[in-house]
Structure formats: structure tokens, C-alpha cells
């Protein structure tokens, strides 16, 4: 692990703490309040604030999980560091694609 990866993992964790708490609160609110999918989309679509919030969520999760995954692969498998870096990068890109697509779907389209 390089100092850059180490610092990025800690900073992304720092971002995730409040973001995950808000996200869980939102899920509980939506489920307990009995909001329909249409009602949820009515609140999120066109909202710049929710778009930015969930973009931050997706980026911090992708970074944090990708760095963690690489660390696990480095420690627990015989793969060389080039291979673990390639797998981790692929994982980050996939997570970003899937996550940002979902953010786009609920806030823009």
C-alpha cells in the first residue's frame, strides 16, 4: 500500500461516515413513510443536491472498496502486485459505472 492509497482510503472512510448515516436514515424514512417509487422519484429527479450527495457516496465507496479489495488480495492471495492492481482498478471502474448510472437514473432521467 502506498501513502497515497493509505490516505485516500482513510479520507474516503471519513466521507462515508456521514453519507452512509444520511443514506440509512433516508431508507428508513422512505420505507416507514410508505413512499412509492413514483413519490421517491418525484423528490429526487431534477434535484442537484441529491445528485451531488449520491455522486459523493458512489465515488467514496468505489475508492474505499477498491483499495480495501486490493489490500485483501495482496495479503491473502499469491497474485503479484500488478495483477492485484489491475483487478482493483477494474472493480473501481465497474462500481463507478454501476453507481453513477443509478444516480443518473434517479436524479436526471
Amino acid at each position: 500500500m502506498t501513502p497515497l492509497a493509505f490516505v485516500l482510503q482513510r479520507l474516503s472512510a471519513l466521507v462515508m461516515v456521514p453519507v452512509v448515516i444520511v443514506h440509512l436514515g433516508l431508507v428508513i424514512y422512505a420505507v416507514r413513510g410508505g413512499l412509492s417509487a413514483g413519490e421517491i422519484l418525484g423528490r429526487t429527479q431534477g434535484s442537484v443536491a441529491w445528485g451531488l450527495f449520491y455522486t459523493l457516496f458512489v465515488v467514496s465507496v468505489a475508492l474505499h472498496a477498491g483499495l480495501g479489495l486490493r489490500n485483501i488480495l495482496d495479503e491473502w492471495t499469491a497474485l503479484n502486485r500488478g495483477a492485484t492492481a489491475a483487478i482493483a482498478h477494474l472493480f473501481v471502474v465497474l462500481t463507478l459505472l454501476l453507481g453513477l448510472r443509478a444516480v443518473f437514473a434517479v436524479t436526471v432521467s
Binding site: M1, P3, L4, F6, D74, E75
Partner: protein, 241 residues
């Protein structure tokens, strides 16, 4: 509790095995006393290592009933399971023969963590004045009394699965050097622990702190290094090349 201890001692190298010995129980008997009794009374070919017998030199550490311990200060009464005592060489280092472990990797990592003083003053300069109650001096005090016994290194999970990891003792020593206000090249220390297998690899399991026979807290030292490293990196003061 009987008058005789049922002792199993590791004999041979890496491919060796446990051999059974009966050892008479004595008052205030230490694990090192047991090993010495076996060598002097039963089998003179038993290899083990010790020097001071009073917990200062750090050379007699072994695995006792599955846990790394300093054997000269470990009383048999405190660690036996009934009458049985299993004594093996330290873990996470290669075994040479019987209870003598090869400490080369431990001390090589100690060196590569560069936890040593880098002075800039000459004999013509005045003595450095360090206030005993300054925060850095207090921090160094809390970590400086390591006896190099490698008990923490043997207890560390990360060392067991990541061979390049410097280990708690070397990083604890680096933290002492980092808090030496006289040191002219603190950057050496941070650069030396900012490598793959350096302080960033610690999982904070705290086995080192749990097992340290002299009561040091290497986990806290490593946490301090991580914090110092992060600050130096974010402020651009950590030059890695």
C-alpha cells in the same frame, strides 16, 4: 497439581516434533528453569538461548502453551494447564534447532525501519536541551524500553501472513526515533516506514500490546506513525524518492 510437570518440548528443526519430559516441580519455578533442568539433567543436546535471566536481554522468548512469552520471567504456576507445559520456539521466525529461533528477519527489519538516531551536532556543540515533560519526550519515554525479545513479532497476525511487514518492534523503535527532538533527519524515519509492508500494513489487532512482556504499546506507536505519515503526505513534506 502433582510434583511432576508433564513437559513437551519442540526438538529438531522445522520438521521436528514435540518430545515428552518429566520435570520436578519447584517453588517459584520459571519456564526457563524447566528448560534448563531438562538440558542439565535429561538431555544435554537441547538447544535454547538465554543470557540475563532477569528480563533485560530479551533473548529467552519462546512459545509457551501456544503463546509467545519471555521465559525467564514467566512462572510455571501462571501458565500450566494442570501439569502440562508445551514449549516451542518463537513463531514467525525460522527455527534453527529445538528452542533456538533464527532472529535474522526480525533484526533485519529492525534495521530497515531505520529507528536510529541521525545526529547533526558535533562534539563542539552544546548538549541538546530536551525538557523531560515535553510531549515528544514523554511519547519517546513511553515506547523506549523495548528489550528486542520479539514476543510482539511472534504474536503479530500481520507478520504471519505478510512476510515483508516490518512488525511491531521495529515500528515501535521507529516511533521512538521520530519523537527524538535532537534527530536531524526525521524524514528518514517516515520514508522508511512508508514502504509496502511498513506501518500502513498494521491491522491494529493489538496482539503486540497484549503480549509485550514489558508493558509497551506498539499499537499506539504504529497509530502515531500512521498519523504522522498521513500529515506529512497531505502537507507535501513526505518526499518519497
Amino acid at each position: 497439581m502433582s510434583d511432576t510437570l508433564e513437559v513437551r518440548i519442540w526438538r529438531g528443526g522445522a520438521e521436528g516434533g514435540l518430545v515428552h519430559y518429566n520435570v520436578p516441580r519447584q517453588a517459584s519455578q520459571t519456564v526457563l528453569d524447566v528448560v534448563t533442568w531438562v538440558q542439565r539433567n535429561d538431555d544435554p543436546s537441547l538447544a535454547y538461548r538465554f543470557a540475563c535471566r532477569v528480563g533485560m536481554c530479551g533473548s529467552c522468548a519462546m512459545t509457551v502453551n501456544g503463546r509467545p512469552r519471555w521465559t525467564c520471567r514467566t512462572h510455571v504456576d501462571k501458565v500450566t494447564d494442570g501439569d502440562s507445559l508445551t514449549i516451542e520456539p518463537l513463531g514467525n521466525v525460522p527455527v534453527i534447532k529445538d528452542l533456538a529461533a533464527d532472529m535474522t528477519p526480525f533484526f533485519e527489519k529492525w534495521q530497515s525501519a531505520r529507528g536510529r538516531f541521525h545526529g547533526a551536532a558535533t562534539r563542539r556543540d552544546a548538549y541538546a536541551r530536551i525538557k523531560p515533560d515535553s510531549p515528544a519526550r514523554q511519547t519517546a519515554n513511553a515506547h523506549v524500553e523495548c528489550i528486542n525479545c520479539a514476543v510482539c513479532y511472534s504474536a503479530c497476525d500481520v507478520v504471519s501472513w505478510r512476510k515483508e511487514y516490518l512488525g511491531p518492534a521495529a515500528l515501535n523503535r521507529a516511533w521512538v526515533a521520530f519523537n527524538d527532538e535532537r534527530d536531524a533527519h526525521l524524514g528518514y524515519v517516515l520514508r522508511s516506514v512508508a514502504v509496502n509492508g511498513g506501518c500502513m500494513s498494521c491491522h491494529t489487532h493489538q496482539s503486540c500490546t497484549q503480549h509485550c512482556p514489558v508493558g509497551l504499546d506498539p499499537s499506539a506507536a504504529i497509530a502515531g506513525l500512521k498519523k504522522a505519515l498521513s500529515r506529512a503526505y497531505l502537507s507535501g513534506r513526505l518526499k518519497l524518492s
